[in-house]
């Protein structure tokens, strides 16, 4: 399994297609936590379960103000068909050309197969990786790790904010 970029590293910026005529730039999401879910391929059974689960959890992620992004090397039309079939309500990014360039920058690319690892990244508001996890390729990692990370991040922010406001008061 790949050695992913780890906590404390600035998340590499990227601009990728989310639909055939729409681009998304990671840096535009600064100010919000971002969940970046890399997965090997649309339509494969495990990914199907994984995206279905995350789709169901969007309200929980939004409680933390977090944005969820899926990412694979599939093309935009493939993503569009997959998202429609599974009724997904979050963007799927297409790391298609040059193939896997973004996955490589996160050290989450499988050269042999030419697909992304099944890897999760939670980024903080400043775009720094707070937590990352690489799952065995055939295992759906679930969402417990993501929710734990979002919760810990929110707590740390509260402590930080409180410390700042009390130092201002003093």
């Amino acid at each position: 399994m790949a050695q992913l970029l780890t906590a404390g590293t600035a998340a590499p910026n990227f601009t990728l297609h989310v639909t055939p005529d729409q681009l998304l730039t990671l840096d535009d999401l600064k100010g919000k936590p971002v969940i970046l879910a890399l997965y090997p391929a649309d339509w494969s059974p495990v990914c199907g379960d994984q995206v279905t689960l995350y789709n169901e959890l969007l309200p929980e992620f939004r409680k933390y103000g977090a944005e969820l992004l899926g990412l694979s090397v599939d093309g935009v039309w493939c993503h569009a068909a997959f998202a429609r079939d599974r009724r997904l309500h979050f963007p799927l990014l297409s790391d298609f050309e040059p193939k896997g360039a973004v996955a490589k920058s996160y050290r989450a690319y499988r050269e042999g197969e030419g697909v992304c690892e099944r890897a999760l990244f939670v980024l903080d508001q400043k775009g720094v990786i707070f937590w990352s996890y690489c799952s065995p390729i055939a295992v759906n990692p679930g969402a417990d790790g993501i929710l734990d990370a979002l919760e810990r991040m929110a707590k740390q922010r509260d402590i930080h904010d409180n410390a700042q406001s009390s130092s201002h008061a003093a």
């Binding site: 379960d49 279905t52 789709n55 929980e60 009724r87 997904l88 759906n140 679930g142 969402a143 417990d144």
Partner: protein, 179 residues
């Protein structure tokens, strides 16, 4: 090792003695075809282990993929407050290909419960919070698809074939005898 984060409480639907040496807990979705396949296997497991096993069921409806899963879960909860959870549970799985209000009403009336009250509960979403709480407890426990089983609080990562589930339960029983 993935473990159950929310322990079994009296609010759970449980069948079998509370002090049974083994508790088998399932997170399931009434519209999930794999849960439908697992249902008769769970029945066989319960029969096989008898009083040595307690079975607990929690809801894990993937409602974006399965449009009837949520209403079916709420219907089971409605039957549950009227003491008929397991009858409704079996009725829903046995008629998985016909989920929807007409089936819920038929089952409700067969169980001698009020169809009007069921309609009202579904419209008001009376049992939605309970179903959501089950779902979230599963997510926090690492449920990544359905059916997902926990045996004495540890996720069972094997298959739900009778032999696999049975062997994992046997192992817990042996561990219980040793201690």
């Amino acid at each position: 090792m993935t473990t159950l984060k929310v322990p079994v409480t009296p609010h759970d639907h449980a069948k079998g003695p509370p002090n049974a040496p083994v508790t088998l807990l399932e997170y399931g979705d009434y519209e999930c075809p794999y849960c439908g396949l697992a249902h008769p296997i769970v029945k066989l497991i319960q029969k096989h282990f008898g009083q040595r096993l307690r079975f607990v069921f929690r809801h894990f409806p993937l409602s974006q993929a399965h449009p009837n899963a949520e209403s079916a879960a709420q219907t089971a909860e409605f039957a549950g407050v009227n003491g008929k959870f397991w009858d409704m549970h079996d009725g829903l799985y046995d008629n998985q290909d016909r989920l929807g209000l007409p089936l819920y009403l038929t089952l409700t009336s067969l169980l001698g419960l009020s169809e009007l009250e069921l309609r009202e509960a579904l419209v008001r979403g009376t049992f939605a919070p309970k179903v959501r709480a089950d779902f979230l407890s599963g997510v926090r426990s690492g449920v990544n698809g359905t059916p997902c089983f926990f045996i004495n609080g540890v996720r069972h990562d094997g298959t739900y074939a009778f032999e696999d589930l049975g062997a994992a339960i046997e192992q817990q029983l042996r561990a219980h005898v040793m201690t």
